[in-house]
Each structure stands twice: as C-alpha cells, then as structure tokens.
C-alpha cells in the first residue's frame, strides 16, 4: 500500500500546490506564451491524479466528487460555447471576440481568455473523471 510510504506522501504534499499553481500559470499566461487551456487542464488534473494514487481514490473523490466533475465538464463546454453566443448577441459572428469589449483588442483578449478557461475546466474534469473510472470505482454512476 502506498499509504505507508512516508517519503512519497511528504514529497507529494510539497509538490501538489506548485503543480496547481503552475497549471494556473500555464492557463492564464497561455495567450502570451506557450500554454493554454488544454495543457493547463491536464496539469491541473494530474495533481488530483497524484493525490489519488498516494492517498487513495476514495479520499480524492471527497475533494473532487463525481457530481462536481460532471458539472465542471458541462460548465467548460458551456463557457466556450456561451462566449460564442455572447458575441452573436452583441451583433458579431459566432465566436467573433471583437464585439465582446469596447474595443477589438480588449475583446480579443477577453474572448480568448474565456474560451481557454472553458477548455481548461473541461479538460481537468475529464482527466479526473477518466482516472476515477479506471481506478476501479465508477466515476459516473453511484
């Protein structure tokens, strides 16, 4: 059992917060440097996977319960699509970020950040859900 491995437990406890922070950095810095929603989502999800491997899937599921992950899966897609619908309602074409703010440059910034955040949420939730399902306990049907 992994539960007795003190070194692993301590090191992972030290590592998990920086992993989460790094994921957020990759997420929000994605429009200037390498990175973006997909990569950030995978890194964010991997922190949960590491936690689940060392402390047991049951404990990890208390932190990230399946219903919450399911909601996140949905929320990410809707955030992405909703950004497109918002630009439709503001008079632009679908996913035309120019109309989202008072000037096109800010609109493009806002649009890509929202869309990438949607991707990040869904990818992280998908990573965690897939791991939960494969880890033996069903992640989908209780």
């Amino acid at each position: 059992m992994m539960h007795q491995k003190v070194v692993l437990r301590v090191v992972s406890k030290l590592l998990i917060p920086p992993i989460l922070l790094f994921a957020l950095y990759v997420q929000w810095h994605g429009d200037f440097g390498p990175g973006g929603g997909f990569q950030a989502g995978v890194i964010f999800g991997s922190a949960f996977v590491l936690y689940a491997i060392l402390f047991g899937v049951g404990v990890a599921r208390r932190v990230a319960p399946p219903w919450l992950m399911r909601l996140c899966l949905v929320a990410g897609v809707l955030l992405y699509g909703g950004t497109g619908v918002a630009s439709l309602l503001l008079g632009g074409n679908y996913l035309d970020y120019n109309v989202l703010a008072h000037d096109p440059l800010h609109g493009q910034h806002l649009g890509i950040i929202l869309v990438e955040f949607g991707v990040g949420i869904t990818v992280a939730a998908a990573m965690i859900t897939i791991f939960n399902v494969f880890a033996g306990q069903s992640g989908d049907e209780e």
Binding site: L73, G84, Y94
Partner: protein, 507 residues
C-alpha cells in the same frame, strides 16, 4: 422548399437571426448536448433532445429554402475571412444533406422514448441522448463546413459519440462491435487527416474553395497524389464502401434500435457527402479523379458491394444484421453515382442518399418495434409476425419493396435514375447489373416475408403492437417511402440542384 424560408422571415427577429443560420445549425445541438448531463432525468433529457431535433430540422429546411432561392450561403466563423478563418459554406448539396440529417433526427426522436426506455438502463438514458445530440452536431458540422480540417474535427465528434451510442446496446457483443468500429473509424479519420496534411503542405491552405483553385497547379506532384489516395481510402472506411465495410454489420446489429435507425440513415450518408465534396469540389479542378483510375475503382467496388453484400444478406438470420448488409449493398448504389461522375449519375447517387435514408429508417424502425414486443430480431422468432404485429410488418414490407426497387416506392426512383445515367454513358452492363442486384434484394426480403406471413404463429407467442409513439414515426417514414416514390420530382429536382452545385466546379 422555399416556402419554409418565406415562413421563417415572418418570425420575430428573423432579420437578426438569418445571417447566422448556418452557424446556429451546429451550435444549437452542440450547446444543447451538455445540458442533458444537467437534466439527468430520462424523460427530461428525451424531451430536450426532441425539442432540439425539431429546431435543427426547421433550421435545415430554412437553409435549403434560402439556398435554392438565393444561392450559396457563406459564414465567417469568428469574423475571420477565409481562407484564414474557418468558413461555413452551404450550397444546394450540403443543404440537401442537412435536411436529410435534420429530418431523420426529428422523426427518430419521438420514436426513441419508448424504445430507449426498454433497451437502455435508466441511469444511462441521459447519456444516450447526450451522445445522440453530439452525433447530430458532428454530422451537421461535417455537412455545413467549408474547411477541410474543420471537417475532420466534426468527423471525430460524430464518430466518438456514435461509438458510445453503439456500445450502449443491450447485447454484450455491442462492446466488441463498437470497439471494432472505433479501430476502423479511427484509421479512416487518421487517413483523412494525413491527406489533409499533405494538401496543406503543398498549398498552405485548408479552405475547400481555396484548395480547389490552388491544387491544379501542383496536381502532378506525388504528395498531392498520395493525399488524394489517403482521403479516398479514409472516407471510404467511414462510409463503409466494400471491402472496407466490415465494421458496419455488427455495429448496426448490436447497437440500440434507435441508434441503428439514426446512424443507418445519416452517418454513412454524411461520409458519402464528405467524399463527394472532397472529390468534386476540392479536387474538382484537377484531373486526378479520372486519370488515376479512382473512377474505375469506385465503379468496380460499387458493383462488388451491390452484389456481394446483397448475397451475404440472403444468409443472415439476424434481421438487423441482414438489413445492415443490405445497407452496404445500397451504399454501393450511391458510390456508383459518384463513379459515373456525370450530373445525371450524381443526381441518382444523391437522391439515393435521401431515398435510402427513408427506406432503411422504416425497416430499422420496424425492427426496433419488433424487438420492443418480442425481444428478438432473429428470423426463427418471427414466425407469423405478419398477424401478430400487422402494422410494423406492413411498414417493413413497404421498406422491403423499396429495397428491391418496386415502382411507386423511392427505391425505384433512384435505381431508375442510376440506370438511365449509365445508359446515357453507354455503359449498359451497369444497368443490367442494377437489375440483377434487385433480384438478390427480392431474395433476402422474401425470406422475411415468408416466415412472417406464411408460417403460423407459435402457441403462446407474444402478440400486440409497439406503443403508438413508435408506430406513428414508423408509419410517417413508410408513407414518405411511398410518397416520394410517386412524386419523385421534388427530391430529384433538389438532388439535381445539388449535383449541379458539386459538378459546377468541374472545368
């Protein structure tokens, strides 16, 4: 058809919505799909999918009306002009396929409630509708897009969701069928994207209209030749052209009845549309289709499919499997239309997309109803079914008559058109082949008729019809099979406009 467009213009805010119709066609089902997860309840998610399907169908009719009245619709996604941005481009050909997909979705969903509730565990029903909506999104997306890479993305959306739909079947063999389809489908999609990558390498463009002007200059290169081969084989896998059809019979046989009805009537049709679009629009400016021998290969494979698959169908005891083999055979007719490569032949192939969707939809709906009542679609369990379930069997009979091309059914219209097209080219032996293949179709339909109408029902066999909610959509489809068989002009004129739109890019 234009009537729907005129009707639409009377709606409030029509002027504001109108320019975005082609985007909404895809966006609505895409964003509706995740809502199913929030709803969770089987009835609510069904109702939601039903509403969305009808909205999608209405939009597709309006788009077809608009295209026929005013010509090509283009839409710049995200406001980026093509060829840099993704362009949605709808002419008569895609509008026609959009209507087929929309119509099948709108008719399948009322049918789905009872059948899905019977065949799929309650806790998973919302997943089925979620996957159905995603599949609908993918199919509509493939059809609407004018961007070769975007087509790949939608191809994956529709494929992944259809694997899940098939795997939800109650028979455990559904899992292996879905896995096999997954392997073959992924190969197909990979081949397609390799082809697109090679085209991009030579031209630097992914926009279909742009590619069609850039490709002729580099058509002599080996890269473009390989791209053409990869794309034809990749899409050939997705559309189950003989001998790449091996995933199809089991997938259709073991999927939930509703998934079979929906996929059999739409998925392969959309893949055929994709091949048409790539061959006649993207490669339309080049001479590759004629000089590389692909045309001859397609005609030979089409004839092989028509005969071999129909022959195998005669020996099937699982009737859903039999109908699946019949689908492979009917796909042969559509490919034949592509292979003839004249406007007349293409019209025949395209009209068969619609007609086959009608008749195969009816036949699989009848099988779904039979499975609902007697819990089996094996021929040995169907004795006397003509008396036990007269309405479902009558619908099946109409579909069966249409499968071998009896006059006053849709099957006759498309076969007649194809036979005439091959005679016009002087290829009379193809017309003879079509006639002979019809005899094979009679053989496999007759086996079912013999058992269900001639044999007496066994003692204590379950009697009675499926619920009205399943019978009405089935009868509508059966009626359409006859209606469009008598009034072939409506569908033929639309198919002709579609064929002209595709061939228009030919030099």
């Amino acid at each position: 058809m234009t009537a729907f467009y005129v009707l639409f213009l009377f709606l409030p805010n029509a002027a504001a919505i109108e320019p975005h119709l082609s985007a909404l066609q895809v966006v609505i089902p895409l964003l509706a799909a995740p809502i199913c997860v929030v709803l969770r309840d089987p009835k609510l998610s069904w109702l939601w999918a039903l509403i969305v399907s009808w909205v999608v169908f209405f939009i597709s009719l309006v788009i077809l009306g608009k295209v026929l009245a005013e010509g090509v619709i283009t839409y710049e996604l995200g406001g980026w002009p093509p060829p840099w941005g993704i362009e949605y481009r709808v002419d008569a050909a895609n509008a026609f396929v959009l209507v087929i997909v929309g119509l099948i979705g709108a008719i399948t969903l009322p049918y789905a409630r009872a059948s899905v509730a019977r065949e799929i565990p309650k806790a998973r029903i919302y997943l089925f509708y979620l996957m159905y909506l995603l599949c609908l999104t993918g199919l509509l997306g493939i059809t609407v897009t004018g961007d070769a890479f975007n087509l790949f993305v939608f191809l994956e959306i529709s494929s992944l969701s259809s694997y899940v739909m098939i795997a939800l079947g109650s028979d455990r063999r559904a899992l292996t069928a879905a896995f096999r389809y997954l392997i073959m489908g992924t190969l197909g999609a990979t081949f397609y994207i390799i082809g697109v990558g090679m085209m991009y390498m030579m031209t630097g463009s992914l926009n279909m209209a742009d590619l069609s002007t850039l490709l002729p200059a580099v058509e002599e290169t080996r890269t473009v030749l390989a791209a053409f081969a990869f794309i034809v084989v990749g899409l050939g896998l997705k559309m189950a052209i003989f001998p790449l059809h091996t995933w199809l019979p089991n997938a259709y046989a073991y999927a939930p009845s509703v998934a079979t009805v929906f996929l059999a009537s739409t998925a392969t049709k959309v893949a055929i549309y994709a091949l048409l679009r790539l061959v006649f629009t993207v490669f339309g400016g080049t001479t590759l289709f004629a000089v590389t021998g692909v045309q001859e290969v397609l005609i030979i494979l089409a004839l092989a499919a028509i005969f071999a698959a129909a022959f195998v169908a005669v020996f099937q005891n699982d009737i859903k499997r039999m109908l699946a083999y019949s689908s492979v055979s009917q796909i042969g007719y559509m490919v034949l239309g592509i292979g003839l490569a004249t406007t007349q032949g293409l019209t025949g192939g395209l009209v068969h997309l619609f007609n086959h969707a009608m008749m195969k939809g009816t036949a699989f709906m009848a099988m779904g109803a039979i499975f609902y009542v007697i819990g089996s679609v094996q021929l040995k369990d169907m004795a006397g079914l003509g008396r036990r379930m007269p309405i479902s069997m009558a619908a099946f009979l109409v579909a069966g008559l249409s499968l071998f091309g009896t006059p006053v059914t849709v099957g006759f219209i498309s076969k007649w058109q194809l036979a005439q097209a091959s005679l016009a080219l002087g290829w009379w032996y193809i017309a003879v082949g079509i006639l002979l293949a019809s005899l094979l179709a009679i053989a496999y339909v007759w086996r079912v008729v013999e058992v269900t109408y001639m044999e007496p029902p066994p003692e204590g066999a379950p009697k009675g019809e499926a619920p009205v909610s399943m019978l009405v959509p089935m009868l509508i489809m059966a009626a359409a099979t006859i209606w469009f068989g008598i009034d072939g002009d409506t569908t033929l004129s639309v198919a002709q406009a579609a064929a002209e739109a595709l061939m228009g890019d030919q030099p």
